[in-house]
Amino acid sequence: MSGMANEAPAGDLRLVDLTKRFGIFTAVDELSLTVPQGSFFALLGASGCGKTTTLRMIAGLEEPTSGQVLLGDRDIARLRPYKRPVNTVFQSYALFPHLNIAENVAFGLRRRGIRRVEEQVHRMLALVQLDGYGRRRPAQLSGGQQQRVALARALINHPQVLLLDEPLGALDLKLRRQMQIELKRIQTEVGITFVHVTHDQEEAMTMADTVAVMNAGRIEQLGAPAELYEYPATAFVANFLGQSNLLAADAAGPAGSEVPVTAHGVRFSVPADRARADRGPVYLGVRPEKLHLVEAVDQVPAGHQHVEGVITDASYVGVSTQYLVRTGWGSELSAFTANSGVGGQHPVGAPVVAHWDPRHAFLLPREPGQDDRTTPLVDEPVGKPS
């Protein structure tokens, strides 16, 4: 009983057709994925898409409506939570208010019959930069400090799988980066499988070996961070992970190694190996930082494709300037140009030519009738009337 965390057979964490319904609402919908042992897996998705529910099913706090949770060869889906070699850093911290910080952190160790816990607790608190806080009560800590206690309380058990539900959400940027590095270091050192839920796409991309983007209870795409970013599979992923300019276009099948498309009466083409769809309604996608701005068409490099437009907004954000370019057909493209000192600034109202290398573009399937989709600039007020 006490040594269960070590006795369990090692192996990958596999979810097979995992489904959770609350009444008629399906929170997690036939989710299947494999997290290799010892890897860092990030689950990314909008609020309410079922991330926490998925973690709770892995931890045993929620019983799946159907499907399996496999750890190695063992189906643990019906095992009580306290029998699973899995620990959770809860989104709501769930620290024990009647125990001091040291006792909170020692809780799992004590339960497994380990007597001498002081040294381990001390090391753990040092790791999350809370040495000296051991005697305080949770209510006497700030939100970010409580979050780190929650982290220490789970990590100290060295579980086979550690589930982290937005474990760094309440930390300021600097501390968050530090903790990210610490987490990554611990993960590589101890070889624990991490399943990390986050809203922060940068966090997911810098830390994880594999990123899964979830939407409405399903996995939209799963893969290495660069793969997801450079070649997204769906319009949702293209806009959830970073920003994308998606132009509504129509394709009529591949021609050689290219897929020609028509968007708003203009012809473009995309390499065939960058096309998720090559027939019917498609989106032609280009990332804002892959759009380059020049003043005249004759400045566009050979092999690049371009659209003409007018600058409608320019926001200077230090490392780059983010422009909005209104095209002839009325939609706005965003373009980021690095402030590298090469090339001048473009004033608002100036006519420009936005061009890109077709090898950086991609084609995605599109529902018929859907128009261009461009994500708003980050500094634009949310909920601005359009």
């Binding site: 931890a59 939570p81 809860f90 339960r111 789970a154």
Partner: protein
Amino acid sequence: MTALAQVSGGSGPARTPPPARPGRHRLLPYLLLLPGAAWLLVFFAVPLLQLAAASLYDPTGSLSTGYALTWAFGNYPEALQAYWPQFARSFGYAGAALVLALLMGYPLAYAIAQKAGRWKNLLLVCVVAPMFTSFLVRTLAWKTILSDNGALVGLLRDVHLLGPDGRLLATPVAVVLGLTYNFLPFLVLPLYASLERLDHRLLEAASDLYAGPLHAFRTVTLPLSMPGLIAGTLLFFIPATGDYINAELLGTPNEYMIGNVIDSAFLVRLDYPQGAALSFLLMAAILAVVFVYLRRAGTEEVL
């Protein structure tokens, strides 16, 4: 910027908050205390002083001859010597009733607070409902329930838990059952209040950290319900110890508690000095028990 400065400058005097009236603010809490304090003074402190004086009256006096305050401290050891069995019984019965009430009340409070869902309010009303009838009527009802030819005694005799002539009424069991029943709501309500606030996510966290249900109860639920448990225990134990109705109606003079003795000292024997001395002894004993209990129960959460 200048415009702003001008505007705020122009309306400066008008904008400053009205001068504070510190005297009024500092007095306010005391004013709020006044009604309660006056009530306590008139109806608690003054009678208490009177009672203290009465406990030191000359024991040879009587209502007809009049009493003299002779600082007769001997009243105390005398009263204790005469009635220590009733004292011991009071604490024994109240303690036994408390144990029974805890065994029933904790699961009840837990179930209502954590599992009852939308039945919560209805169940709470059920717990309090007996209080809508008078204490006396409720206890008399128990007299019927426990009576020798009642169904309960019949059943217990049939299953041989009671001998053929065994009875419940007029035994210590009846008094303890009566006390348990009559004071149960005082235990359940504070317990419920504490358990209701218990965040079930803490139990999830405990089970995630390898604690089975029993261990989670011991390390999380129980400590977090401690304030309610302590308050409920005191609210149960204190009136139960001083009670005399249950012993009077469900017991015999062999089951009499100290409350019965005080009752008869004041109302039957008219021995005011002894009644007052016994009252003070009871108060002191309860205070001592409560003090020790609070010290041992870890009062950090309560005080």
